[in-house]
Symmetry: D2
Subunit: 391 residues, 4 copies
Amino acid sequence: MDFTLPDSLQALRERTAAFIRDEIIPLEADPGRGAHGPTEALRVELNHRARHAGLLAPHVAEEWGGLGLSHLGRAVVFEEAGYSLLGPLALHCAAPDEGNMHLLEVVATPAQKARWLRPLPAAEIRSCFCMTEPHPGAGSDPGLLQTTAERDGEGYVIRGHKWLITGADGAGFAIVMATVPGEGGGPTMFLTDMQVPGIRIGRIIDSIDQSFAGGHAEVFFEGCRVGPDQVLGEVGQGLRYAQVRLAPARLTHCMRWLGAARRAHDIATAHARERHAFGKPIGEHEGVGFMLADNEIDIHMCRLSIWHTAWLLDQGQHGRHESSMAKVFCSEAIFRIADRCVQVLGGLGVTRDTVVEQIFREARAFRIYDGPSEVHRWAIARRALRTETTR
Amino acid sequence: MDFTLPDSLQALRERTAAFIRDEIIPLEADPGRGAHGPTEALRVELNHRARHAGLLAPHVAEEWGGLGLSHLGRAVVFEEAGYSLLGPLALHCAAPDEGNMHLLEVVATPAQKARWLRPLPAAEIRSCFCMTEPHPGAGSDPGLLQTTAERDGEGYVIRGHKWLITGADGAGFAIVMATVPGEGGGPTMFLTDMQVPGIRIGRIIDSIDQSFAGGHAEVFFEGCRVGPDQVLGEVGQGLRYAQVRLAPARLTHCMRWLGAARRAHDIATAHARERHAFGKPIGEHEGVGFMLADNEIDIHMCRLSIWHTAWLLDQGQHGRHESSMAKVFCSEAIFRIADRCVQVLGGLGVTRDTVVEQIFREARAFRIYDGPSEVHRWAIARRALRTETTR
Amino acid sequence: MDFTLPDSLQALRERTAAFIRDEIIPLEADPGRGAHGPTEALRVELNHRARHAGLLAPHVAEEWGGLGLSHLGRAVVFEEAGYSLLGPLALHCAAPDEGNMHLLEVVATPAQKARWLRPLPAAEIRSCFCMTEPHPGAGSDPGLLQTTAERDGEGYVIRGHKWLITGADGAGFAIVMATVPGEGGGPTMFLTDMQVPGIRIGRIIDSIDQSFAGGHAEVFFEGCRVGPDQVLGEVGQGLRYAQVRLAPARLTHCMRWLGAARRAHDIATAHARERHAFGKPIGEHEGVGFMLADNEIDIHMCRLSIWHTAWLLDQGQHGRHESSMAKVFCSEAIFRIADRCVQVLGGLGVTRDTVVEQIFREARAFRIYDGPSEVHRWAIARRALRTETTR
Amino acid sequence: MDFTLPDSLQALRERTAAFIRDEIIPLEADPGRGAHGPTEALRVELNHRARHAGLLAPHVAEEWGGLGLSHLGRAVVFEEAGYSLLGPLALHCAAPDEGNMHLLEVVATPAQKARWLRPLPAAEIRSCFCMTEPHPGAGSDPGLLQTTAERDGEGYVIRGHKWLITGADGAGFAIVMATVPGEGGGPTMFLTDMQVPGIRIGRIIDSIDQSFAGGHAEVFFEGCRVGPDQVLGEVGQGLRYAQVRLAPARLTHCMRWLGAARRAHDIATAHARERHAFGKPIGEHEGVGFMLADNEIDIHMCRLSIWHTAWLLDQGQHGRHESSMAKVFCSEAIFRIADRCVQVLGGLGVTRDTVVEQIFREARAFRIYDGPSEVHRWAIARRALRTETTR
């Protein structure tokens, strides 16, 4: 048992923290932070700074241009990146690109990697993951998937309506989940460039959050042709790959937003120290101080659960139970933290004069992304009912 | 003991509900709903419709053009108005105008009423209430008030920096809280037109909510002159009048937002009925159904607490303890409701495709407005410690 | 709309409060308060005092010796009775007798009333309600009922194993739920004296609560014969009568335990006033004061929900939705109150030196009795999903 | 970073688990489990079995007869011991003996160790810790200490009234906190045999919990004489030693009760698997399943926080912030777990037919012991306000 970070990782942590503080937080005042995420120009500048700092795509294998971080390494670095909502974009370790890079590294063929993985870590392009569909299609229940990929000669023709596709607007390519009629075994994943006939971006959907580059778009597949070499992995195995992508992806969400929660807490704590009311700093009123204490506890517990699950993944375990528990605990704890910080700030907290207001909104969305708490609780319960004892 | 609404009030309730449904909800798609509240053009249209429907300023005495509703009557009608976030603006019963009209009715001189109260219920103008100041000025603790009104001849010269002043941009007049140096007894309230020398509107502050006409502005008093006839009530009695205004005002907040919570709940319930996942409507999954049940309970309890306190006020009691309890309970319950509705809607809930997303944000701000829960809990506890038994 | 109590009821409230304070609370030190509820001797003394005070069985019609209180009247008087955990026993308005009297008044034949109802309000006897069975029998799901009443000539022979039967030990008669094989329409209710062949009391089950006379027993029906005149109401209609009994019965639980919660809160508040730590009365520490504030709010809200539902029942409505909401809200709120009071008392709170410790345990059980919160939430959700709008 | 348990510790864990399962749980049916904790006869039998299994006092240095476990080792073994409420007594690692042994190892002189520490790990005797006093004496605020130790020749004469002294009845010796008048620097700790003139045990206080040997007693010091060699450490340093004792002691509370929570969860999970209602096992109803899921999460998080803090202590850090956070989180999480388990069990849960009912009561008391959550939150907040950033 050892909770020590390796020296090299500790150094990288400090370096990332300094980079965020000195290079990224100043850009938070940039007008390019729009309602649907940073503009392309801002994104390019962010990536440029991270590239210069040697921090681009730290989670990707060195072979593909990253730092080859372990899951634990990601836990440490992504938390620091998340201390600014622009940080994960800068390091190109935000959703959905981060999960897509991971999936391609694990599942793609060498030719697919050369074509689609290679330019990603360098931030030459962005990507998207086309799974969610509007009612009555696939949301939490993948069994409702409506998008089809009909066989047509050696290839396939994709038709369907996707929705809430993060980063689709401006993406270079997409991973698309679709059912091949006549094939058993479930949906299939396909790779396709976005700038091809048969793909149409609809509106960018206004939403409570605004930290993702490209926002969340509607995407219409209207007869998009893909060749057999664009099947990712095997036909009918899409749900299995979705698990390959999601278990770590939901954990990296926790990492990044933990950084954001810490930022909110630091702002609230500083305010509680400086702002006086009824004769003393408001932090010395227990009503406020107890909120800070609960933040401290929640931050601490989130980090422990993330580090533990990351370590499990590094041991080669799938960590499905633990990553579900981390998702539920962290998303709810991080929301509680953000909510308390708004309350501590009072009137200031509901304004955009601090970044806490946005962190609060982002944290709310996090409780839905990559499986709402209800779906995870159901899965956790099912496992608990199957095993004989805890521990 | 009787929980029956008078027939006339029940009829007014139905009429208001129909008005909101038929005349106001269709306007929710109007592009005039901006980041800082509806545009002036939209506000005029809303008021026009309410005037035509005979529902304008229903809380104001008939003598001044309203319907002369009791507090209970307001509870019923304001809840219906709140079913659309545009409804209270339409009826001109939103903050801060609603509270200002009430305060003027109770405290102003006949001459002041003729000048400032008369045009308000007719929605010829809007008004604002200039109390809150940025750090280190007055927020929850009025003792920190920095704005001064120095005697100058028979009148006063006001200097200070106000902040988060709802509706200041576009308001016809303001009620201003300032300290007269050399006077004991605390701050004083003043009435002043806004279009006068010495008042400057600063920026409109970006904030989490966006339902108030004019948004929340910074206001700089830079030598604004007021005559002795512009003192509202007596010098040094401002805090007492603030209580006159706030106890009902915080209750009317509860009324309006209860309507909004009911709207969110209706949308979530309809979704839970129609959306299927894992083999049945999601509402039949207990994880979702229990959230709806808790909404039902919270809505029910909010209404009871509001009706009870309104009835107390109608009896001539100050209802301070009960209105504090209602503010804490309702603001927190309404936020819980909105939060659950977002969760029930899933991905849809974090988009602006339904009004639930905005209701959630408004409800968050409500937990701060007119005294955060912490200040009320402190006041409630102090009273509990002073009395011998509950009941 | 009127929240005023009639003068006569207000007078009865004061009289009951004084009776509890002067006659019953002093008996709380009586050694007869055993692990399975008060001894028979203590019960007789309690009833004697209530009879003398003219407060016995106030909920029963005057024709049968009670005060003929409306549901609202019960709300007021039962809350006062509940201020001592011995109070409801004294007034003979505790479960299960109170609900049994109500059920017999509504459903029993004149002959049945003469035999079984008549002696109850006079506290000559106690009664029990034999419904719950151990696993795999009927608990929350009445569909699992195992006890049978086989036809035998004109009568029936009852066989089955009941469990957690409150007050069975020492009861004069029982209402028994059993299925008549070959009859459709569901279970049937039977009336039987307890001192007859074929009924055997098993152990008295140790439990977290201890306020019920007779405790909770196992009851074995081993061929208990009943005549056709012992069918309560109609064959096959038992579940309908259970609703007749349960909707008001669960509300009277709320009434009595609200009184207990108020007692705990008064003790905690007094302690918070007197006990000093870190330089001031602990109640002036917000960490403690906020708990008292939340108690005030919860007590207030419980009372409103009870009064409202009682009024509905007095109007002849079944009030099923409202009584479910009251049960969930009150049982959980009362538990929270008791839990906070323990915390406010600190070390003293976990001892039996105050009655708060017992109130805490009783309140925990209340969240299970007459339908756990989960069953009510499920029913509330089902109704919400069926209706189009709230209000 | 490594979450692996050393093989030897893993083996000890399994051995302890088997011992509890095979040797201790069967004794839970022993009639010697009284209202004030196990009888002396049962305690002797429990210790006998642990001694035979080589598991007695595993936390104590081998030199004194223990297994010399690190803090992490304690975390693992104490959790297994706690799986039965009798387990910690069996291993003699329950409060207050466990903390007393630790304190004596760190602070006592060789002569004191020979006299008072030596017989403890062998379970020849029990001990107690006399700090808490009734109102208006020392509870959470040690500044209120009333007990005095007046100098008398070379020694001292102790006078005072202690309260809630766990295990005092039957203890061989006590550590007593008292103020030496005229000495600055705060209270002083003394060691004294219990069977001496001037010490009188008052009543054993009835309380919500009942797992501690000897219960909680009142102890009167009525002129108890101690020599200069009975001062533990230095005069005036008692509060510092209290910290030496409390930081690990509150963590070992977490360890033991985590085991108890796991036991409750296993019982509830088994019930949820076997008990059917409304057509399926109740665990498959989300209302129940989600409670099990939350238990899984809470158990997991408790263990991580305990292991982390134990590791910190093993590194020689004082871990005050982390042990406060662990105390708050674990005591509240363990209570939530126990509360949910009662609810899952339904009617069965409020009976003593399973040990869950007692675990629930013990967990309630745990939220008070060794500092209520409020005192820890205050300390955590104070530290947060002093530091610049989290992490």
